[in-house]
Structures are given as structure tokens and as C-alpha cells.
């Protein structure tokens, strides 16, 4: 029985001594860091994509805790939900932001945009764009070399080899903005996510005059202002021979779409198919999204 007593005496005294020492140390070195940072970090999606403008989720959490308001802080991956949780944790107001989705503002497929020369360098849009104008004469069109595809953390963009244009998979897109940064031509835009991922936008950013632009590309925006005139919601802005549909203003009435003489305005995820280019783009994207869904099911 003595061994039991010795064990008890020994271990218990170790326990007490350790507790005293720990207490003293805890008093001496109080934690300086706000522990709420951990909670905020836990609430974030941990994608570390950098879409928020900070190098990682941890840094974003710190920024959230340290700043006075959450107005300038937004986690594109987690979206409004996450920001609400964070705001709740910190007792601050989260700014109401609509979820967004990336769209490709170029319809210059191989068919629509004749090639005028042949690029044979490193397969990177950034390299090609720095070197020269691209395979076609369009100085702003898609270079179809996968820079946006490679940079996407969520596999939400793939390159359609037949048209030579990237396609965004709406379901997967988190609007982190990585592709927007990666595109040397600034073709990709983050637009407001509408019901059923419907989207109407001008799929061209060419600022040349109409005659020159159509020479490069048959579906270029020629700045004819027809869509501008027909829009009732003041969602269309004209400038530099180019129309732009503001996604926050657009009511998806589709009135502008048939007006466009060059089919430069695209509608995505709407019911019946109307125009030729739309058909091409839509069927391709539909097929893929179905395929992706099938993959997920597997």
C-alpha cells in the first residue's frame, strides 16, 4: 500500500507546484494578441486565395479585427454569409454586398476573329501581350493561352479549345478576382450575380471605331448606341466607341440584345436561344456545366 501513498503524494505535489508556476507565468506573460482573431479566422473559408487583397485568411482576419469598420473588407469566397458571421463576432456592421461572378468580355472565337499571324512563343498571355498585339489584329481581345485558367484556385474556368475562349463555370466561381488580375487584357469582369446566374453583358472591350473594329472581329462592339437608346434602366453607358452594361443597374429585360447589329451583347442562362453567337457560346457552356455536374455526382 505504501507505493500507492508515495505515488499520490508525489504526483499531487507535482500538480500543485506546476499549477503555481503556471499561474505565475500566466500573470507575467499575458497574451497580447486579441484571441478573437482566431475565431474570425475560423469563420473564414481558409482558401488563402488572396481575393480579399490580403496575402492569406489570417491576415484578413487581423485586418477585420483591427479596423474600425468592415466597409472596405470583403471575403469574395465566403461571400455575404461569411462577412455577416465575422461582423457578428466583432459586433460590427458588415457592408451589404451582392455576390458576384466573373464573365469573359470577349467573343472573339476562332470563327469570329480571323488570325493574322501565328504565335510561337511561351504559352502565356502575359508574355504574348507584352511582346505584341496577338494572333489577331484586335489589340484587346482574348489571347487564349490559359493564364486565367491556371490562376483559378477553384477550377472555375476552363478553355474551350474549339472557340479559343475561356468559359466560366458559374457554380464554382467565387469571384475572388484572381483571373481579373491575371488577364493582361482586362477582359474579365466581376459582375453582379443574378437569379439563375443570368447575365447580360457587352462581350467586347474594343475601343476602336466601328469600321476598324469589325475588321478585326465580326462580333465587336461598334459603339452604334442602339442598345443605349433602347435601355429603360440607364444601365448602358457609352464611351470610347464602346457600350458597357452596368450589372447593378441592369434589369435583365433583354431588350438590348436583339438590337445589337454585331451580336456583341451576350445573354447567358436565358431560356430560348436567339442569335448565332449566343448559340455557340451557350451550348458549349451548357455542355460543360452538365459534364461538371456529372463529374460531381460520380
Amino acid at each position: 500500500m505504501s507505493s500507492i501513498l508515495i505515488t499520490i503524494l508525489f504526483l499531487s505535489s507535482i500538480g500543485i507546484v506546476a499549477a503555481i508556476i503556471l499561474y505565475l507565468f500566466a500573470q507575467k506573460f499575458k497574451v497580447l494578441e486579441n484571441p478573437i482573431i482566431y475565431d474570425v479566422e475560423d469563420a473564414l473559408p481558409a482558401a488563402n486565395c488572396g481575393g480579399c487583397g490580403y496575402p492569406g485568411c489570417r491576415n484578413f482576419a487581423e485586418a477585420c479585427v483591427n479596423s474600425d469598420s468592415l466597409d472596405d473588407l470583403y471575403c469574395p469566397v465566403g461571400g455575404q454569409e461569411t462577412m455577416d458571421i465575422v461582423a457578428n463576432l466583432l459586433g460590427k456592421e458588415a457592408k451589404q454586398t451582392d455576390p458576384r461572378v466573373a464573365v469573359i468580355r470577349c467573343s472573339g472565337s476562332f470563327k469570329n476573329r480571323p488570325r493574322t499571324n501565328h504565335y510561337d512563343g511561351a504559352s502565356s498571355c502575359a508574355v504574348a501581350s507584352a511582346l505584341y498585339v496577338g494572333d489577331t489584329d484586335c489589340p484587346v481581345g482574348c489571347l487564349n493561352m490559359d493564364d486565367c485558367v491556371e490562376v483559378c484556385e477553384f477550377e472555375a474556368i476552363y478553355m474551350n479549345r474549339k472557340t479559343g475562349l475561356p468559359v466560366v463555370i458559374d457554380e464554382k466561381c467565387t469571384a475572388c478576382g484572381a483571373c481579373v488580375k491575371a488577364c493582361p487584357r482586362d477582359i474579365i469582369e466581376l459582375r453582379k450575380r443574378n437569379k439563375k446566374d443570368r447575365q447580360i453583358f457587352v462581350s467586347c472591350i474594343n475601343k476602336e471605331k466601328g469600321g476598324i473594329a469589325t475588321k478585326y472581329c465580326s462580333v465587336a462592339c461598334i459603339g452604334c448606341t442602339k442598345c443605349f437608346k433602347v435601355c429603360e434602366f440607364e444601365a448602358i453607358i457609352m464611351g470610347n466607341n464602346l457600350a458597357f452594361i452596368d450589372s447593378d443597374m441592369c434589369a435583365l429585360c433583354r431588350r438590348c440584345v436583339p438590337e445589337c447589329p454585331t451580336d456583341a451583347i451576350l445573354e447567358i442562362n436565358f431560356q430560348p436561344v436567339r442569335t448565332k453567337t449566343d448559340k455557340e457560346n451557350k451550348t458549349a457552356s451548357d455542355k460543360i456545366s452538365e459534364k461538371v455536374k456529372a463529374d460531381i455526382k460520380e
Binding site: M1, S3, I4, L5, T7, I8, L9, F10, L11, S12, I14, G15, I16, A18, A19, I20, L22, Y23, A26
Partner: protein
């Protein structure tokens, strides 16, 4: 669930209670397993002695005697059949193993020849040095029945008579060293 605050009293009491409970549990577990552990250890030793010696009917571990050699102690277990010495089991060791100590049980017959050897404990490389165990290779069989008087207990590489385990000369050497130690101790007064 609200956590307890890390105040001094809380901390000390919690840790004290936990250590107290733990120590009580441990103490009882120790008491409870003391006897079975001793039995298991004894059984293992007896099994080894049985293996290295011929038939006997005494209790060698009650007649145990020790001899100090090389700053350590060798244990001798004399075995008798009807009070006549039939052999001595010697628990010997070496620290020249490839990785750590090796413990052997060597059975020596009264005429000085080796009856059999069993490995008690080793940490040699599996597949190489562990071939010294009887179950793994025939290495230890070559010691059966030889008398170290006319048999050099060192590996052939070093000019001895022992066939080393292929590619593990160091383990073989250590094995011989342990056997040698047992034999020398036996000669130097271990013989009773």
C-alpha cells in the same frame, strides 16, 4: 458551457484534483499488476533456462548466484537432476551489438561445453542481426555441443571458428563476445 476562469485557486485545485485522481488510479493499477508482471517475467526466464539446459528437477532461480565481471553482473542458474549438477544457465550480455545491448542465456554443461544458447533481448536490425535468434536462422546452432577450450569463439574474419551471419559481422562478433564472457566467468569461479 462557461469555462472556469484561470484564477490561482482554480488552477491549483484543478491540477491537484486531477493529479490526485490520476495517482490513485495509477497506484492501484500498479498494485494490481505487480504480481502478474512478476509471474510473466519469471515464466520467461524459466522458459529460457529450460531451453538451454538438459532435464533437471530443481528450481535454478532459487539457487541463483552472481558474479561481477566487466563492471556488471552475470547471473548463474545451476540446474540439478536429483541434486547432481547437470548444467548451469548463465545470463550474459554484451554491449558491442550493432544497436545496443544483447542479452543471452547460455547453458553450459559441467564438462565446460555449451549445450544451447537463447537470445533474451536484443535490438539488432531485423533481417540482419536478428538472425542470431534460433527462430530466424541456423547461426546459433553451430554453438551447440562445442567446447570453447578447443573452439575459438570469434568469427572467421577475425581468425576464429565461428561462421558469421552473412553481412552482419558486427552482430555475430557481439554474440561471440557475450558467449565468451559467460564462458570466462564460468571458468573463473562460476563453476560450482
Amino acid at each position: 458551457m462557461a469555462k472556469k476562469e484561470s484564477s490561482f485557486v482554480n488552477m491549483v485545485i484543478t491540477l491537484f484534483v486531477i493529479t490526485l485522481t490520476a495517482s490513485i488510479a495509477l497506484g492501484f493499477a500498479y498494485e494490481f499488476t505487480k504480481a502478474p508482471i512478476a509471474v510473466a517475467k519469471h515464466a520467461a526466464k524459466m522458459k529460457a533456462i529450460n531451453e538451454v539446459l538438459p532435464e533437471f528437477n530443481n528450481l535454478p532461480n532459487e539457487e541463483i548466484y552472481k558474479k561481477a565481471i566487466d563492471n556488471d553482473t552475470l547471473y548463474f542458474y545451476p540446474a540439478r537432476e536429483d541434486n547432481k549438477l547437470v548444467g548451469t544457465a548463465i545470463e550474459t550480455f554484451t554491449n558491442k551489438g550493432f544497436s545496443g545491448n544483447i542479452k543471452l542465456m547460455v547453458g553450459i554443461l559441467p564438462d565446460g561445453s555449451i549445450n544451447d544458447i537463447v537470445v533474451l533481448e536484443h535490438k539488432e536490425t531485423p533481417g540482419l542481426g536478428d538472425k542470431m535468434s534460433k527462430s530466424k536462422s541456423d547461426f546459433s546452432l553451430q554453438f551447440q555441443g562445442i567446447n570453447p577450450e578447443n573452439f575459438d569463439l570469434s568469427v572467421k574474419n577475425d581468425g576464429g571458428d565461428v561462421d558469421a551471419i552473412t553481412a552482419s559481422t558486427i552482430s555475430s562478433r557481439a554474440y561471440c563476445d557475450a558467449v565468451n564472457r559467460a564462458y570466462n566467468a564460468y571458468l573463473k569461479g562460476g563453476k560450482k
